[in-house]
Amino acid sequence: MNLVFGSVVLGILSGGIYALMAVGLTLSFGVLEVINIAQGMLVVVGAYLSFALESYWHIDPLLGLLITIPTLFLLGFGIEWAFLRPLKQDRVALSILVTYAVALILEGLMGLWFGDNFVAIHAWYVDAAINVFGLYIADIYLIGFALAIVLLGAVYLLLYRSKFGAALRATVQNREAAVLIGIDVQRISTLTFAIATGLTAAGGMLFGATTAFNANSMLDLISRLLMIIILGGMGSMGGALVASLIMLVSVDVVSVAYTPTWSTFVFFALTVVVMVVRPQGLFGAPPARKV
């Protein structure tokens, strides 16, 4: 019983971290209508950056975010500008291919620099644990959850309390109409992709501190993140958060109550089952009929 309770708590905490990794994916889908296959790899790049700062220059991973977030922001800016903006026709297919290619290039480069070995980010709060009602929880999970809440809250404020956010939401609702009322959709798109990628740096740091990773981890990650955003409803931020929590709690409970072998399977099976009942995902709008 206690074990199951513990796994629920851990599931919620790591769900927050996954939400932080998935929010970039759902944002760029909502605004750009692009499925960013490179998201998993961007998480890994963020993790490697934090790892490199920590192990070469002894910069604390949390402090290092002040460097890694802007770096990934610029990387996202570059990717959108160079590879996504030129796509005019057939955006669905082409964006999948283009971002897959970007992911492969980054995977190759990370492999060349850091090798195949699994690494993990270290800091004092990664190894320390505190006792909460008889449960030992590694500090990093609490810090990670708090950081996820703060950053997701910041994104929420940006979306709902700023002019940029209003323009962004207008673009999500109707791209053509947004152009017509004078919103610079191109600028919104680039900035959104850059912000989404920047956030991913924080998700990457937390991922790297809670999981051993190498460049190849990106496939595992992108498949999970895609399941999260489709379960939550594509383009919905709240959906991504709720879906992350549901997913990670189920994974952790299955892993404790049944067997870790099948825990990852839950990710995919749960998604497919929900799709049967509710094709638009938990929080997705039913597909509008085009006129």
Binding site: A93, L109, L226, V276, P279
Partner: protein
């Protein structure tokens, strides 16, 4: 007349493929073309759903793996020894793939939006990979399964596999050709252009998509079985491999999605390129970088693929010629805009 010429070219290509292994009989030479032919079949088959209807499946490698596991399990449980008989078992791989495609297609195609379809098909691939890893009693998990060794060997070893792949490739292309020129294929193309309009003019879009999905699983299942027999040992991560899907989509895309010739051309460019790249760079990471860069360059320079780009260029050149001729005979400058008025 144009159709006759195309038929002649196709005939020459098939004859060349038949003669090839007798001229270049080294193992390396036949292996490269064996893989290319296998991918011609796979990509042409994928093209039936992905290219014709625009529903891009990133999970068709699941059928490849199903075919591979079918031949391994059937040969093992029925005690079928290695030999030509196993090629018949490979056909069973296609049947099993089709059986699985029924519920898979049923769920994925209900989603109505292409984005969700793409993601659910990705989920399929990973589900099957995990099942292959986890169902120890059936699949032997990560230790993989052996397929009986064929009873021929030596310099002749590749030949039967080569011709099996060739037959599969030719039949798959014929199937795609037949579908493309049928009423059914017309419905599929209408779905790609505008699904709602297609439904509006009386195309039963659901039945069309569903049928196309199931049909496209069959040759891929057979290809997976032939691959398994050829490599004589399979692992979950080599037959349920996301890279297979990437290669399929890229082959179809490189040549021109939705065209008949596209996937053939794409497979014949990509397969040898990929193998040479891995061979010369030693799979250290440079192969991924080069592959990715190549990929980006092609997409950004030729967003519709080789075949449509060439077709469009020759069409434009012809129009220009015609305009020039018209100019020479009747020098009226205002005739130009009308003659060159194709969509840019």
């Amino acid at each position: 007349m144009k159709r006759n010429r195309m038929g002649l070219i196709a005939l020459i290509a098939v004859v060349a493929a038949v003669v090839y292994p007798f001229v270049f009989s080294s193992t390396e030479a036949t292996t490269i073309v064996f893989y290319a032919l296998l991918y011609v079949a796979i990509a042409s088959s994928w093209n039936i759903i992905g290219g014709f209807t625009g529903y891009i499946s990133l999970g068709h490698a699941a059928f490849f793996g199903l075919g591979a596991y079918t031949i391994a399990l059937v040969a093992d449980h029925l005690g079928i020894p290695g030999g030509y008989g196993l090629f018949l078992v490979a056909l069973l791989g296609g049947v099993v793939a089709a059986l699985f495609a029924v519920p898979m297609g049923f769920i994925a195609l209900r989603l109505r939006t292409i984005h969700s379809f793409v993601i659910v098909t990705i989920a399929y691939l990973f589900m099957f990979q995990l099942l292959a890893f986890n169902l120890l009693g059936v699949t032997n998990g990560s230790s993989g399964l052996a397929i009986p060794q064929p009873n021929w060997s030596g310099a002749f070893f590749n030949m039967p596999f080569y011709f099996a792949a060739l037959v599969l490739a030719v039949l798959t292309v014929l199937l795609a050709y037949w579908i493309r020129n049928s009423r059914f294929g017309l419905g599929l193309l209408a779905i790609r252009d505008d699904e709602d309009k297609a439904a509006g003019v009386g195309v039963d879009t659901w039945k069309h998509k569903f049928a196309a999905y199931i049909i496209s699983a069959v040759p891929i299942g057979i290809a997976g079985a032939i691959y398994a027999y050829f490599s004589s040992y399979i692992y979950p991560q080599t037959v349920f491999d996301p890279m297979i899907d990437l290669t399929i989509v890229l082959s179809a895309f490189l040549g021109g999605m939705g065209t008949l010739l596209g996937p053939i051309l794409g497979a014949f460019i990509l397969q040898p390129a990929q193998q040479l790249l891995t061979f010369y760079t030693g799979a250290a990471g440079w192969d991924l970088v080069l592959f990715g860069v190549l990929f980006l360059v092609v997409i950004l320079l030729m967003p519709s693929g080789i075949v449509p780009t060439i077709v469009e260029r020759t069409r434009r050149a012809r129009v220009r010629e015609a305009v020039q001729k018209a100019d020479e005979t009747v020098p009226t400058p205002d005739a130009n805009p009308a003659a060159g008025g194709g969509p840019r």
